[in-house]
Amino acid sequence: MRWVPVFKKEMRLYFGSAVAYAVFISFLVICGIFFSSIFLFYSDASMRSFMQPQFGQNLNVIENVMRPLFTNMSVVLLFMMPMITMRLFAEERRAGTFELLLTYPVRDGEVLAGKYLAALALYVILLALTLLYPALIAYFTRVEWGPIFAGYFGLLLTGAMFLAAGVLVSSLTENQIVAAFGTFGILLAFWVVGWGAEFAGGTLRSLFQYLSIGDHLDGFTRGLIDTKDLVYYLSVTALALFLTLRSLESKRWRG
């Protein structure tokens, strides 16, 4: 249970410095722009469908507003998640506070759990703030909440995976900028690997498709929770956290 003080300390640092607010504001402003333009376009389309009923036959608020919004949010996360995780280990190593932390009676796994869960908690708060968008939609029209929550669940898993990758990179360097850009590069590579799938053939194609983040999120945004996608997110997250733990232990060995 020694992860609790580490968790509390990280949360204090997120909210005590400007990190939490900077991430919240930039994420919400960007997503707000996306949401309003998508929603305005949708309302315009539904107005026109009054005039031409055959045009509006498959007009659906989940399909036409929430789905593109989820995809856009996941792209913004690509930029935001490294900002949350970059300081977790790199800053402590640079400042020398890590030395002190490791001499307290706390296991490496507990340090990692406290830090990772703090980053995840910050992300959950961020996601919760974006519930404003579906709430706004529900104010104007009737929505089905099931697919919306499936989409949020997908975003939660995507974010959890991004954060795990960020924690891993942060544990490998003393430099926060290296940590942020390293994480961003890795995540971007996982993203664009899906584009390569179109030109590849055979096994390579299915491998690329499997690795691509976008392909796995797609199901969730349509309200589909597939075991294949769950396994993908959870196994990558677990692998990144396991490697982080190994990297912490090896630091202890090398001193």
Binding site: R2, V4, P5, V6, K8, K9, R12, L13, G16, S17, A95, G96, T97, E99, L100, L102, T103, Y104, P105, V106, R107, R252, W253, R254, G255
Partner: protein, 324 residues
């Protein structure tokens, strides 16, 4: 309480400490002395379980620092060099975090934190962010976190660095008051600090222990003779020869003459006080005794001699140039 045997640490091809062995008994305060880069901090990092040794063993409170590190870490308070702290936390919330991670129960945490803040004179700064504190205050907050959880063993790497003279005196008094209940090992390069605060001294140079013991033991090891200064007026004849004839005297060195007096440094074996015989000699000859006192050998002279390797006590290893 602390037992270090043949400890060696290499960073790649550089040997930071080589075959270091020493022990500290419970309740004692031991000063770790050495020039910069001698291996003081390395030894302390190993003792505090921050990093493993390349060879040898270290036990704290009966537990091995490597294989039983959690047990050791429950029993130590560590202040690293330069007191690394979180600049974005306030003093009180930082100390609350340390108390919680050291396993101080929820009920007593507030009281414990208040107590160490009082002891380390940081209560008036408790709501200030650590990043806004002066070096002296940061150092004292670092000491406060080491004291939290009432550890049996305290490992303090240069605890008084960056403090003003009054604060140094306060912190020394504080450390001194820890003797008895706590075992303390502290490193410093302020030599008088060791004389004031510590019961024992370990001198390390180029990663090897070059001398250890209490201050008086070291003085006797390094300087095999006691020195007495004699100054006589109205002397006639060969005063030096007369002094040399006093039983127990080993050598007599002349001091510069002053105001018509002659002075000498008389060296004699330890435990052999020649002052009585000198007085009888001088008065017997009808000279006037102007000055007579023993010259104390300070730790500083011991340190300079041992570290410079000019003269080394018989049971002390000659340091070699190994660390580049």
């Amino acid at each position: 309480m602390i037992q270090v045997d043949n400890l060696t640490k290499r960073y790649g091809s550089v040997t930071a400490i080589h075959d270091v062995s020493f022990g500290v008994e419970k309740g004692r305060i031991v000063g770790f002395l050495g020039p910069n880069g001698a291996g003081k901090s390395t030894t302390m990092k190993i003792l505090s379980c921050f990093m493993p040794a390349t060879g040898g063993t270290a036990r704290v409170a009966g537990y091995d620092v490597f294989s039983q590190s959690i047990e050791v870490r429950r029993r130590i308070g560590y202040l690293p060099e330069n007191a690394p702290l979180y600049p974005d936390l306030s003093v009180a919330s930082y100390l609350d975090f340390v108390a919680e991670i050291k396993g101080v129960g929820r009920g007593e945490r507030r009281g414990r934190v208040a107590e160490v803040m009082e002891r380390c004179f940081v209560t008036d700064m408790q709501n200030r962010l650590i990043g806004k504190l002066s070096k002296g205050y940061r150092q004292r907050v670092g000491l406060a976190q080491a004291l939290l959880g009432d550890p049996e063993v305290l490992i303090l790497d240069e605890p008084t660095i960056g403090l003003d003279p009054r604060q140094i005196a306060e912190i020394r008094t504080l450390i001194r008051s820890l003797a008895g209940q706590h075992t303390v090992i502290l490193s410093t390069h302020i030599l008088p600090e060791v004389s004031m605060v510590c019961d024992g001294v370990v001198i390390i140079n180029h990663g090897r222990i070059v001398a250890q013991g209490t201050e008086s033991e070291l003085v006797q090891q390094v300087f095999p003779t006691a020195r007495t200064e004699v100054r006589v007026a109205g002397a006639s004849g060969d005063v030096a020869a007369a002094l040399r004839a006093v039983p127990g005297v080993v050598t007599v060195e002349p001091l510069p003459a002053r105001d018509g007096t002659v002075g000498f440094v008389v060296e004699s074996a330890h435990g052999h006080d020649v002052r009585g015989d000198v007085v009888r000699l001088v008065t017997g000859k009808g000279w006037a005794l102007q000055e007579l006192h023993q010259v104390g050998m300070s730790l500083e002279e011991v340190f300079i001699r041992v570290v410079a390797g000019e003269q080394v006590a018989p049971d002390v290893v000659v340091p070699e140039e190994e660390v580049r």
